[in-house]
């Protein structure tokens, strides 16, 4: 089994590597995509400078914590979209019968299909996360925790994208539901939870896993909490297992459209 995992990991890394090489053929476009995405994200600092000029703390977050929130949200998004880009268009792959080429490969179908392409601009998000981490004051422990939570967060948002995309196995086109769900996660994760009250706040910290991907990591990086870290790890593992089970259940209902495509 371990050999199988090793082989799968090897294939995944090679797929990403070749995807990156393919995108780097046009160097100007590649560099522009990365740099402009960093600048694009950086513009939001202005928003928070204006808001913090009006009030000293927003939703219980200091300016540094807001920077951390943005850093973790950006790197989580970056990791997920860079490595698992196709998880965000899974609905299209399913409804248009484009999974055929992945079914014939002797590898995990889900991993093969979601890692088949990379999003260059997401590299800018990822780098931006680390740049902001440095600005907010980096330490070795903070760096390790940040990287760890960026990975768990990326896995969680990819799981959600796959689950929402997999709805297409049962209800046909689910791309609008998936897009809405994914946007919901991104939008909420860049605002402090303290500004929301009542049911909205409870939902954010429970049902909608923004707490796991953004709020809890910031709390832990501010003041380490083992219990909360453990909760994040356990839920990430459970959610990933559930995602695989649901996807493979849905795959039984998949029907090919005899689409001829070339994969280079």
């Amino acid at each position: 089994m371990l050999q199988g995992v090793k082989n799968q990991l090897n294939v995944t890394i090679k797929t990403i590597k070749y995807g990156l090489m393919r995108e780097m053929i046009n160097k100007t476009s590649f560099i522009m995509n990365v740099i402009f995405m960093i600048l694009n994200n950086a513009s939001f600092i202005i928003q928070w400078i204006v808001i913090y000029s009006l009030k000293e703390d927003v939703g219980g977050y200091t300016f540094n914590q807001i920077l951390l929130l943005w850093a973790i949200a950006a790197s989580t998004y970056g990791f997920s979209h860079f490595i698992f880009k196709k998880a965000y268009s899974l609905s299209d792959l399913i409804t248009n019968g484009k999974l055929d080429s992945f079914l014939v490969q002797p590898k995990n179908v889900l991993l093969a299909c979601i890692t088949t392409d990379i999003e260059v601009s997401a590299l800018g998000d990822l780098l931006y996360g680390y740049i902001v981490l440095i600005i907010s004051g980096i330490t070795v422990s903070k760096f390790i925790l940040f990287t760890f939570f960026s990975i768990t967060g990326a896995i969680i948002i990819t799981d959600i994208a796959v689950l929402l995309g997999s709805l297409s196995f049962w209800i046909g086109r689910s791309d609008m539901i998936a897009d809405t769900g994914n946007n919901l996660m991104i939008n909420f994760s860049t605002y402090p939870d303290g500004i929301f009250k009542g049911a909205a706040r409870i939902l954010l910290l429970t049902v909608i896993p923004v707490g796991l991907t953004a709020y809890f990591p910031v709390w832990i990086m501010t003041k380490f909490n083992f219990k909360l870290t453990f909760v994040i790890i356990v839920i990430t593992v459970i959610l990933t297992l559930v995602t695989f089970v649901i996807f493979y259940r849905g795959l039984r209902r998949y029907s090919s459209s005899n689409l001829m495509i070339s994969k280079i």
């Binding site: 522009m32 600048l39 809405t180 909205a200």
Partner: protein, 263 residues
């Protein structure tokens, strides 16, 4: 002009077929307004407090109006379409058609935008009235002026995005330039009025697209005066001419380049 009205009508009718898509996208709009209602509720300790000349109610109405104008355009999708037309060579098939590509692209996208604006207005105004329990006191002529200013804001935005898309004639992919433009509009225009920024920056912003595409119509909506409406409408008309001129020049130059490379 009649052919562009026909293109506009065709896109309008075609968009009607996908109203469900628009309704789904509306969730993002509702979410955006919901977040900012919460944010401004948190920032304003007292509902009657004035920050930079704006009350809490005015600030939330400001964001609702700017988001209706900016969000309904779906600039990212529009810019990508223009970039794809240029990069993919699709634009070559439109050169020999009896219409201008700029007019075709703008009028077509305006058709889609119209439906989104109407639905966003219904939802935005309903949210505002329910949660704020108030509506700015506007007279009938003021409503007409705000409406005209809103239409001009949409047109200027579409032309500026068309210009950014057409930059693909020069650099291969101008989408990243749009990201910067969109964030500039969002952060400096949609979220805050110009008065929130320090002196020099505020002065610069009065000459930037932010003033004519976001601030102008929203300011008139929350704090109408005939003096400021004359100033805003005049600026919008000047900007409309400049934006159209920029599109025309870059298209003219780009098409020549396209001919040289053989399309």
């Amino acid at each position: 002009m009649r052919k562009y009205i026909y293109i506009y009508k065709s896109e309008l009718m075609s968009t009607f077929q996908y109203v469900i898509n628009i309704l789904f996208r509306l969730i993002n709009f509702i979410l955006f307004i919901f977040i900012f209602m919460n944010l401004w509720n948190y920032i304003y300790d007292n509902p009657n407090e004035l920050i930079n000349g704006y009350s809490k109610t005015q600030m939330i109405w400001y964001v609702i109006i700017t988001e209706i104008i900016w969000g309904a355009i779906e600039g990212r999708k529009y810019c990508r379409k223009i970039v794809d037309d240029v990069r993919g060579g699709n634009i070559a098939y439109m050169i020999n058609k009896p219409y201008s590509y700029i007019g075709y692209a703008v009028s077509g996208h305006l058709g889609e935008t119209t439906i989104r604006i109407i639905i966003s207005m219904v939802v935005g105004f309903t949210m505002g009235i329910i949660f704020l329990k108030s509506f700015p006191a506007l007279t009938a002529p003021a409503v007409i002026i705000v409406f005209i200013s809103g239409i001009l804001a949409v047109l200027i935005n579409l032309l500026l995005i068309t210009f950014i898309g057409l930059i693909s004639f020069i650099i291969e992919d101008s989408n990243p330039i749009f990201w910067l433009y969109s964030k500039m509009i969002l952060v400096l225009g949609v979220l805050f009025p110009i008065e929130y920024f320090p002196g020099i920056l505020a002065k610069i912003m009065r000459y930037s697209p932010i003033y004519v595409t976001c601030y102008g119509p929203a300011k008139l909506f929350v704090d109408f005066s005939y003096m400021s409406s004359a100033e805003i409408l005049l600026s919008q008309i000047i900007y409309l001419g400049i934006a159209w001129g920029m599109c025309y020049l870059i298209y003219k130059k780009g098409v020549k380049k396209l001919n040289v490379t053989g399309g």
